[in-house]
């Protein structure tokens, strides 16, 4: 099979357009991510999950016999390289793109909408892209950072004796991404009657001791840490050193098994994070990947990564994309192009990837899929869910999305 695939690709390269115009052309996804610069802590595992899931679909016969092909390139997190890779992949016929890089996604949003191809921005990119009417071809697919902050706040409200009178500190990387939850938390502070203050540390966050002694003086009841990569384990370590108990630390989605090893698996026990998909290999899809893809040696990378947080997020993104392609092929009679795929996405209803992720429903208005997720706690060995799949304060999130979308329509 692998030999045949190689032969096929070689033939495609040799004969170019002749081979490409064949009837059963594969559906191409451009997974143009940053493997060498900033997001390396996640894109390796994430992309491996994406590729393995596409391999699984192909091994199981594809969708109506249509196969999937991933175009994978490194962009080095540089917008100009991302634009080149995007243009090239588009010429090769890709109809869906995932950059997993905020700078590159932002540079491509306008182009993708003009070219009418689908851009998925799971867990990165513009939060207001959830507004489907303003961003018809952009799909965050998973809960935006706004929804994540809302879910974490809601968890405290439900399980930690309410939000009223509490002091909540947001310790974030000083970048647009780090600031993103601020407006939501400010609105919630007013609505629920808690005190909120944001503390920023300079990028990339290897050194945060100054800001944490300020946080200690503030004496917060709960701390939200909002960073990515190496800065996250530094945040957890500094928080514990400054007398904040691990139970009161809440993290954005970017906190994984590796960070726990860096902090010390024992010391981090009790830290909570927002979780977009289930981890581990117990869910049906991941165990099928284990049997069909990993065991025969078709995996895209190190098998130790299979089932890790970021790997499973990658699997979930492709599960949604393939589901959208399936719906598009089922509903439409024309060729499967960007517009058809977009309509496929918008007809996704209650799709939970066989229990891997919360059930999402994407509509032409809501491209976020409801903003679901759950809270998980590190128990010393693994992430253990401590809440059900839920969504919270979507009215507050929606008003923020509307404001952002209106600003975009107005020229920004």
């Amino acid at each position: 099979m692998k030999f045949l695939a190689k032969l096929g690709i070689t033939a495609a390269l040799a004969f170019g357009p002749a081979a490409a115009s064949a009837q059963e052309e594969p559906i191409k996804f451009g997974l143009l991510q940053d493997f060498t610069a900033v997001y390396t802590f996640v894109s390796g595992e994430y992309n491996q999950g994406q590729q393995d899931y596409l391999t699984l679909v192909n091994e199981e016969g594809g969708i109506d016999g249509r196969m999937f092909e991933a175009i994978v390139r490194d962009t080095g997190n540089e917008p100009q390289r991302g634009i080149e890779a995007y243009n090239r992949a588009r010429e090769e016929g890709a109809i869906l793109f995932d950059f997993l890089s905020t700078p590159v996604s932002r540079a491509v949003v306008d182009r993708a909408m003009q070219d009418e191809v689908v851009l998925i921005t799971p867990l990165h990119g513009r939060g207001d892209a959830a507004a489907g009417q303003t961003f018809p071809y952009v799909f965050p697919v998973m809960a935006t950072y706004w929804s994540q902050a809302a879910i974490l706040a809601d968890y405290i409200n439900q399980n930690q004796g309410g939000l009223e009178g509490k002091k909540i500190a947001l310790v974030h990387i000083d970048s647009p991404f780090g600031r993103e939850p601020t407006p939501i938390l400010e609105d919630l502070a007013e609505q629920e009657g808690f005190e909120f203050r944001a503390f920023g540390y300079a990028s990339p966050g290897n050194e945060q001791s100054a800001v944490w002694s300020e946080v200690r003086r503030y004496r917060p009841d709960a701390v939200f840490i909002w960073g990515a990569g190496g800065g996250q384990s530094v945040s957890v370590r500094e928080a514990i050193r400054n007398g904040i108990s691990a139970e009161n630390i809440y993290s954005v989605v970017w906190l994984a098994e590796t960070d726990a090893q860096n902090v010390g698996a024992e010391a981090m026990t009790g830290v909570k994070r927002y979780e977009a998909v289930a981890t581990g290999t117990d869910t049906p899809i991941v165990s099928r990947i284990m049997d069909t893809v990993i065991e025969p040696g078709l995996g895209a990378g190190d098998r130790a990564n299979v089932g890790s947080s970021y790997y499973n997020i990658g699997v979930a993104t492709m599960a949604v994309a393939v589901e959208a392609a399936r719906l598009a092929l089922e509903n439409g009679d024309g060729p499967l192009d960007g517009t058809a795929l977009k309509e496929g996405f918008e007809s996704i209803e209650n799709f939970d990837a066989e229990g891997l992720m919360p059930p999402i429903t994407i509509t032409p208005e809501d491209h976020q899929g409801g903003g679901y997720g759950r809270v998980a706690q590190w128990n010393g060995e693994e992430w253990e869910p401590v809440s059900d799949w839920t969504t919270a304060y979507q009215d507050v999130v929606q008003s923020e999305i509307d404001a952002g979308a209106a600003e975009y329509s107005g020229g920004n």
Binding site: E400, E407, Y408
Partner: protein, 357 residues
């Protein structure tokens, strides 16, 4: 044979001081210009929009920086910040309804003012210490852009360029944007080459070589250092605006981060300090080579010629790229421009072996 010199006699200063005294050079420049003008009809949109267009704009940026680093000898490690000021100024001016041509000028003026304020550090410090002062500019400008939503464009920190017309000509399609960028690159190249022939340029070179020796012969370092920062920041600001309007069309702070400053310095050094063709070659090397290497290696990988892990495959281009930088600089420390010059001199006297200089 290739560069016929026989029969070329300079009988006046006018002809001896021409930019390209040898007809063969003029033919080459003309041919390149014709190719550049015809590019939209010769190459596909992929190569026009993702290779040639950014190459031209980054070459203009490298030339702007080379004016400061190559001619005046003042190191600048915060040049992306200068371009950022230009880009943001032009967008805000255009959004406020100022005609595009004027907002380009405004971008240059604001960049020149802020760039000169930081350049004033050059009056007191030199070399590595000046690098620190300009680095401070990079971080201060970054910080201000990120922390002032009125500049960066709200919560998402993205500003889209409005639709504009340049002196009545629309700047919308790829071809139109390409021609605007080409015009700016050509104008800047001519300016750069002509500066070297003026008293201003010679004063800058005197200061580069030894500033107090320049002072002894009557070149005021105070005035000329500031003028070098002023000129370079002005053209850098306009280039930033061209980059925003012709290429990115949506500006975010990350597009002008510290890495970009380092890349610009690398373009100038790899290309050759103070050389016009060096600006183009250096920008091509630093900007396009990683992209080309990535694609070549990915194609080799997907066609089964090399069987390596995904991770190594992404890092191989970087390994080759680094090796090539070291290789070229070992082979010719004066940069790609000097390699071009060596080749040209070889053909100047071909089939004989030695040229005079």
């Amino acid at each position: 044979m290739f560069y016929r010199l026989s029969g070329i006699h300079h009988t006046g200063y006018e002809s001896a001081r021409r930019l390209w005294p040898v007809p063969a050079d003029r033919w080459q420049v003309g041919a390149v210009l014709v190719l550049a003008l015809a590019a939209p009809f010769l190459v596909s949109n992929l190569y026009l929009g993702s290779y040639i267009l950014p190459w031209l704009i980054w070459s203009a940026a490298a030339l702007s920086l080379s004016l400061l680093m190559g001619l005046a000898g003042q190191l600048h490690f915060g040049y992306a910040a200068v371009m950022a000021i230009g880009a943001y100024t032009s967008i805000h001016l255009s959004q406020a309804g100022v005609p595009f041509a004027l907002s380009l000028l405004g971008a240059g003026v604001v960049s020149a003012l802020i760039g000169t304020v930081f350049g004033a550090a050059a009056l007191r410090v030199k070399g590595l210490y000046l690098v620190m002062a300009t680095l401070a500019m990079q971080y201060l400008v970054d910080w201000v852009i990120v922390n002032v939503p009125a500049i960066s464009g709200g919560a998402q920190a993205t500003l889209r360029t409005p639709t504009v017309t340049f002196l009545g000509l629309p700047v919308e399609t790829l071809t139109q944007r390409y021609y605007l960028a080409l015009a700016w690159a050509v104008l800047l190249t001519l300016f750069f080459m002509n500066v070297k022939r003026t008293s201003f340029g010679r004063a800058l070179i005197a200061i580069r070589d030894k500033d107090f020796a320049a002072a002894v012969i009557g070149v005021d370092p105070f005035r000329y250092k500031l003028m070098a920062f002023l000129t370079s920041s002005f053209v850098g600001g306009v280039t930033g605006a061209i980059l925003a309007f012709c290429y990115y069309r949506a500006v975010t702070p990350e597009q002008f981060s510290f890495n970009v400053s380092i890349q610009l310095v690398a373009m100038v050094l790899v290309g050759g300090l103070g050389s016009a063709i060096g600006g183009f070659l250096g920008a091509g090397f630093v900007l396009l080579l990683p992209i080309i290497l990535t694609n070549v290696i990915a194609d080799l990988g997907s066609s089964g010629w090399i069987d390596i892990s995904r991770n190594l495959m992404s890092h191989l281009p970087l390994i080759f790229y680094g090796a090539m930088i070291i290789g070229f600089l070992l082979f010719e420390p004066l940069g790609l421009a000097k390699i071009y010059d060596n080749i040209r001199k070889y053909f100047l006297v071909w089939p004989f072996r030695h040229s005079r200089s």
